[in-house]
């Protein structure tokens, strides 16, 4: 049984948002966080696995196509099947799609260019462990940075996703309107993030870790991390009601990304 809540950030060769995600979880959200090396087969008892952004394994062929064969992914599969929380951000989302943990596929952005910019997304379903700290239809400002974020699913699959409320985030404008312009990458139904049927695996293209501190222009990304924390806290609390305050790790003043780990 877990003493405290623990997050694991998977490091694939080519991951490049691993440090960023780690930083936000540990130093901003103040949660115990560990790196999980892709060649390992041990999830170190984490409560939530995060697949970070980047270009895992070079992203040759298709984004995320190779990373899913890494040894750690077999463990992530089992973990997810057992109800563990898995969050894929950007490339992490692409990996989850390729691994079949989430439905659909990614196509090249409709303008055939890499797009890095702040976008707005709205919470379409706030009943998931990843969005419950937000309100339904709440508009969040979170950046994207990807080449292949044009979400696609065949018509039946898409209908199913809608029916089962698996679409958690959609691209919108500042006022929450689903305008054509706001859907910068061309995703079907403006899809920016989807959850699996069981509700414990979420993939999203926008980078909440890039929008979790005011100084970076937006702290809206915290909604996602806070949702997970609240969800896990409740789960743990109900298990050990009187365990008291959850212990927090000490925050190191120096950034973790100097030198190496």
């Amino acid at each position: 049984m877990n003493e405290t809540m623990k997050f694991g950030v998977v490091v694939f060769p080519g991951s490049n948002c691993d440090f960023d995600t780690f930083h936000v979880l540990q130093n901003v959200m103040r949660q115990e966080t560990v790196f999980l090396w892709h060649k390992d087969s041990d999830l170190q008892n984490v409560d939530c696995v995060i697949l970070p952004g980047g270009f895992s394994c070079g992203d040759y062929l298709r984004s995320g196509a190779f990373a899913r064969f890494s040894p750690i992914m077999a463990e992530v599969q089992k973990f997810a099947a057992a109800g563990g929380l898995v969050l894929g951000i950007c490339n992490g989302f692409q990996i989850l799609l390729e691994a079949g943990l989430l439905p659909g596929a990614m196509l090249r952005n409709k303008n055939l260019k890499f797009i890095c910019q702040h976008v707005y997304i709205k919470i379409d379903n706030n009943k998931t462990p990843f969005s419950q700290a937000g309100k339904k239809n709440q508009v969040l400002s979170i950046p994207i940075a990807h080449f292949d974020g044009n979400y696609y699913a065949p018509p039946e699959m898409l209908a199913e996703l809608e029916r089962k409320k698996q679409i958690v985030f959609r691209y919108c404008d500042e006022n929450g309107q689903l305008t054509e312009e706001a859907n910068v990458n061309g995703s079907l139904h403006h899809i920016a993030g989807v959850v699996n049927e069981q509700g414990n695996v979420l993939g999203m293209m926008p980078h909440p870790e890039r929008a979790s501190e005011k100084i970076l222009g937006s702290a809206d990304g915290q909604v996602i991390f806070q949702s997970i924390i609240d969800y896990l806290e409740k789960k743990t609390d109900s298990r050990k009601k009187k365990a008291g305050r959850i212990t927090r790790p000490v925050v190191s003043p120096l950034p973790p990304h100097i030198g190496n780990l």
């Binding site: 060769p13 080519g14 270009f55 070079g58 260019k113 890499f114 890039r210 990304h257 100097i258």
Partner: protein, 736 residues
């Protein structure tokens, strides 16, 4: 023996060859000749530029490492050091825009992490031919996607840069990439092969036949036969580089590295000879052990290949195994290919035969240095005689204003930087599009500001002034985010130095830069020289590009580049003069690139910057923006466009100069500050104290941009419209 043809192919003169024979005490074989050829090329040997580069100041308060290493290093306190350098990749980017630009980024990244720093930012300075031409568009498109393709995947944000368009770059586009890294001050690494008997280890990608003689190619003019040089182009693999980066930093953190050098231009040749020369040692290597991608490579090819994503490491024999373990963890090869010796020679064996035996000192340090003839170009006389055309009575200033806003030199560059991941590593707090990029340092109050600057039109009209202004403007950009300049890197892009006029431009520009750096009391810590930017005898305009790094004491004080609130007061620091020479306006409206480059008074410039910096530190400033291309009208418009809510302005001026010069003139040493009413007095007092002319010129607010001159409304445009023109100009060219 070696004939003239062979020498010409190696861009060596007969005299240089004789010197080689003298230094070696014998005739070199072909491989050895190849080695001298690349190392004594303009690109590696700096034979035309060295005498002038000596004029740069290289000492300063923050300096840890000046020119001579892979990159410059500055001390920013808290045990941290900033490592930075700029590099050109002009020729390869014309031949193969995508790979040329991509490998340019790859190369400059290696220069940074070879010193033990983690790259935290890339900036790019680009020059293309006009976008109304298909070929120019495809070069621009290829270069931008090359930079984005490499930088994005490796996870280093491209946070800023600059781009200009001019016909002189149609056949000679410029691609300069600058990288900034962060290191622990006491854990820097240098390119030295210390310790006789230590192992020499090759790490990274395998060697192929790519890019052989890339350095020599970068040292020659283009001709119609440029096509034939095409096989010289290297292809990059950013994923490999990412692994190499992580593996190198991990090996360094574990203390497994004594000396390290990237293999950039001239590959194995450069890294082996330089590392030995710098340490006063020698090196013995076995070429059969060099990992090879292609079959049947000969010593010449192995030594001169410019395959990407490779490094050379020297370490103790006892550290070899743990070092290999680190590299293997990252799926990379680390192969011992030789050892450090004490005889000052580079000895290489191939199939058990000694094929190279040359004194490293001769290769690295004894490249002939030329003081080439200089001569003021004829056209300078014509340029100077130029008289400003009368301002046509029927000139529609509103139209001119929009025309300037739409000029690709001034218009929105988002089409470019949206393709760059500029946020990864989550440090970028001032995004591309502002005067300077600002990075926070996690856990600290302070931050780093970085900018690239160059205006080739000024440098063409007056190379010395052009050099000075480039430095001044870069510093001014830093001042606008409240930063104090700490150190300089520079990339000098010029034509063929064998032409006395070009050499004159070069000499003047360097003197200008040197003088300005002294004035601002900032050292030059390194840079790069790119000569022979000519095609069929047509040289580019002289294009010195300055990269300056500054320190922001408190990132919480940084003002916005756009207007923030309604009814705030607009203050102008500095003076409006009747200067139109070399302006964007003159070029766009009158098709003239003549006249005098703007004047520059260092005392005034420094004071203006100090007022700006002080006002920001005291949290008095809401918006700050410096005046550059397009002058006052364009600067004000930019503040308006960049305000989130499209806030307009109304400005009233009474200067006794012609209206077009007032609106669009590019006089130096001017900054717009915007403040809340209650702080205006304090800013004006600050300015008075430093003898800077400062005045309130108007207010923010409304939905229109309005400028009055002598009671006449000379500009009136809706913000929406101007923004639309500004945003759609560059993308408009690329819509098929």
């Amino acid at each position: 023996m070696i004939d003239d043809g062979t020498l010409a192919n190696h861009t060596l003169t007969r005299d240089e060859y004789d010197l080689i024979v003298k230094l070696m005490n014998r005739e070199p074989n072909l491989t050895e000749l190849g080695i001298f050829s690349v190392m004594w090329s303009e690109h590696c040997g700096y034979k035309s530029s060295k005498v002038y580069l000596k004029k740069f100041p290289t000492k300063g308060k923050y300096l840890i490492q000046g020119p001579g290493e892979n990159a410059g290093v500055l001390d920013i306190g808290d045990g941290l050091a900033v490592v930075f350098k700029i590099e050109s990749h002009n020729h390869p980017s014309y031949i193969e825009p995508y790979q040329g630009a991509a490998t340019g980024v790859g190369g400059i990244l290696r220069d940074i992490f070879t010193m033990g720093a983690r790259p935290i930012a890339v900036l790019d300075s680009l020059r293309f031919g006009p976008l109304n031409n298909l070929k120019n568009r495809s070069v621009a498109e290829g270069v931008v996607s090359g930079i984005s393709g490499y930088g994005n995947s490796i996870g280093v944000p491209t946070v800023g840069g600059e781009v200009y368009f001019h016909d002189c770059y149609s056949q000679n586009p410029l691609v300069n990439a600058c990288c900034v890294g962060l290191a622990k001050k006491d854990r820097l690494f240098f390119a030295r092969a210390e310790g006789v008997g230590n192992a020499v280890i090759y790490v990274g990608a395998k060697t192929g036949r790519d890019g052989i003689h890339g350095a020599t190619m970068a040292s020659a003019e283009f001709s119609k036969e440029a096509e034939q040089k095409r096989p010289n182009v290297q292809a990059g693999d950013p994923f490999k580089e990412k692994l190499l980066l992580e593996a190198c930093l991990e090996a360094m953190a574990k203390d497994l590295v004594i000396g390290i050098q990237d293999m950039g231009a001239a590959g194995l040749t450069c890294s082996t000879t330089e590392m030995a020369a710098k340490a006063g040692t020698g090196m013995e290597i076995n070429l059969d052990l060099v990992p090879q991608r292609e079959d049947g490579m000969n010593p010449y090819e192995i030594m001169l290949s410019e395959s990407q994503e490779r490094m050379l490491i020297v370490t103790g024999q006892d550290k070899v195994k743990p070092l290999q373990e680190v590299f293997n963890k990252w799926d990379l090869e680390a192969v011992v290919i030789g050892k450090v010796t004490d005889d000052g020679q580079l000895k290489a064996y191939f199939h058990d035969e000694l094929v190279i035996d040359i004194p490293v000192k001769a290769v690295v340090d004894l490249c002939p240095v030329y003081r080439r003839p200089v001569e003021v170009p004829d056209f300078m006389r014509k340029l100077a005689k130029f008289k400003l055309p009368e301002m046509p009575a029927d000139l529609d200033l509103n139209q001119v204003f929009l025309q300037l806003i739409a000029s690709p030199d001034i218009a929105d560059k988002q089409w470019i930087f949206r393709q760059y991941d500029h946020m990864v590593q989550i440090n970028t707090i001032v995004l591309p599009g502002a005067d300077a990029a600002v990075l926070r340092l996690k856990g600290l109050k302070k931050g780093l500001a970085i900018t690239l600057d160059g205006n080739s039109r000024y440098a063409y009209l007056n190379p010395k002034r052009g050099g000075e202004i480039a430095v001044a403007e870069a510093c001014r950009n830093l001042a606008c985010v409240g930063a104090t300049p700490m150190g300089v890197t520079n990339c000098l892009n010029f034509g063929n130095p064998e032409k006395p006029e070009i050499m004159w431009q070069f000499k003047e520009a360097v003197e200008g830069i040197a003088r300005a750096c002294r004035q601002f009391d900032i050292p030059v810590t390194g840079g790069n020289v790119s000569l022979y930017n000519e095609t069929e005898g047509q040289a580019i305009m002289p294009t010195p590009v300055l990269g300056i790094v500054g320190l922001v004491d408190d990132v919480a004080t940084i003002p916005s580049a756009g207007f923030v609130g309604q009814r705030e007061t607009i203050i102008l620091l500095g003076e409006n003069k009747e200067e139109l020479g070399g302006s964007e306006y003159l070029s766009l409206v009158f098709d003239e690139e003549k006249g005098r480059a703007p004047e520059l008074d260092f005392t005034l410039e420094k004071s203006v910057q100090e007022v700006c910096r002080q006002a920001i530190k005291q949290k008095l400033v809401r918006t700050a923006h410096d005046l550059s291309e397009g002058g006052l009208a364009v600067a004000l418009a930019e503040c308006s466009i960049k305000s989130k809510k499209g806030i307009g302005f109304e400005v009233k001026l009474n200067d006794q100069i012609r209206t077009d010069a007032l609106l669009f003139g590019e006089s130096q040493s001017r900054i717009i500050l915007v403040a809340k009413e209650k702080n205006v007095g304090k800013i004006l007092a600050l300015a008075r104290k430093m003898k800077v002319k400062a005045r309130v010129i108007g207010k923010t607010g409304g939905k229109k941009m309005i400028i009055w001159h002598k009671r006449k409304k000379v500009i009136e445009q809706p913000v929406e419209l101007v923004r639309d023109v500004w945003e759609n100009s560059i993308p408009g060219y690329f819509k098929v």
